[in-house]
Symmetry: C2
Subunit: 233 residues, 2 copies
């Protein structure tokens, strides 16, 4: 018997500013919705509100200062085409513009990635667990493009209380054959699932994914493919 | 008010063989679970059962015949490392081994991708809509690796009744700013969400994603990034 999942949007979170108590704002919004956090829940939060609470903002009065900021934030630049720069961030993630984002804020302020998104996820998790008594996980997301496939999807950039990858190698499939290579990037699937209710245009920066039975710990940087294994850098 | 989503596993589907009525088997399993299909549901089905029902199987008595089959199925080979071949399929998808799969079946039989997965999705949708009277969508999935990020995720390779990409360009974000580039690959997020209950080791080849309010039509090939836009081929 496989349980069904619920994906619950967390609405009503006010605009977050540097120094704000994001965990408290999430918990208030959950309570206001007559909802609660229960054991096994995965609380998914877009990095934008995490970065804002952590003060990861930078003034970008013009396009040139935005471009300089991107180059500063990037560890390596992989490709460049017009204004689009594909970068490796200091965390190891490969994404456009070093994850520096000018949308969803006023034009003159850019939102950077958290310095250590796994640590951000861990802190939020500890706060929510302390307040509610529930044993949960937190996933911090960003919206990434992909090579080869059009359109953006949400992926995990920081996690706590959940493995990044579930390794099914050695387990037995439906017809009794032993699976040899099936490592599922389960936190990226969680991030994508949550984005279905978070949207980009509505103010829903968080969601709860309920019903997954996952145990273990991981770090989002477990998702970074080592360069020597990567055929497309 | 954003509605919550439910992701409902469809269990109890028997082993599918060439010529079997897959739509009928799905509907029977849904009924047996005291569940039903309702307006707006997205029925997500792994391509493996679709391909089996369509007879897209091939004998591979040894590794050499498997490799020949992969080269036959591929339109183009992009990279090669040991036994791993990264290919463009005839549909335009870029994936390992032209989507030819030896897991989840006996060793001597490989499962190919459907010839036209959008058409497969459309046929299943028409059958389910005729039988139930509900207006639904169907998404056929496969499990793909990604460059740069470890682990596999499910993506859409055939769709009917749903747009591949939701274009938020020109819409207004939470702070009143007009979003300029936010095309979300919503069917890939649906595929990833469904995989959270489908798993690889349990026999759950389908799921219902309930609660999305999407309208429009698309084709999974809308997700193929044109080579001239792609910086990583």
């Amino acid at each position: 018997m496989v349980t069904r999942l619920e994906i619950i949007p967390i609405e009503g979170i006010p605009e977050i500013r540097p120094g704000d108590d994001l965990g408290g704002a999430l918990l208030d919004a959950i309570t206001d919705a007559n909802e609660s956090v229960v054991d096994g829940d995965v609380v998914v939060v877009t990095h934008k509100v995490v970065s804002k609470a952590e003060g990861r903002l930078s003034a970008v009065p013009d396009d040139a200062s935005y471009r300089r900021l991107v180059e500063n934030e990037a560890d390596t630049i992989l490709r460049r085409r017009g204004d689009l720069v594909i970068t490796k961030t200091r965390h190891g993630f490969i994404c456009a513009n070093a994850g520096v984002d000018r949308s969803n804020t006023d034009d003159a302020t850019a939102v950077l990635l958290p310095v250590d998104p796994d640590r951000s996820a861990h802190r939020l998790r500890m706060q929510i667990e302390r307040t509610t008594g529930a044993s949960i996980a937190v996933v911090v997301t960003d919206t990434f493009g992909r090579p080869w496939r059009r359109g953006l999807v949400d992926v995990a950039i920081g996690i706590s209380g959940v493995p990044a990858i579930v390794d099914l190698r050695g387990s037995v499939d439906g017809s009794g054959r032993i699976l040899d290579v099936t490592e599922i990037a389960v936190v990226d699937e969680i991030a994508a699932a949550a984005d279905l209710v978070m949207g980009k245009a509505s103010r829903v920066p968080a969601a709860i994914v309920r019903g997954l039975a996952l145990s273990g710990e991981g770090r989002a940087t477990d998702l970074v493919r080592p360069p020597e294994e990567d055929m497309f850098r």
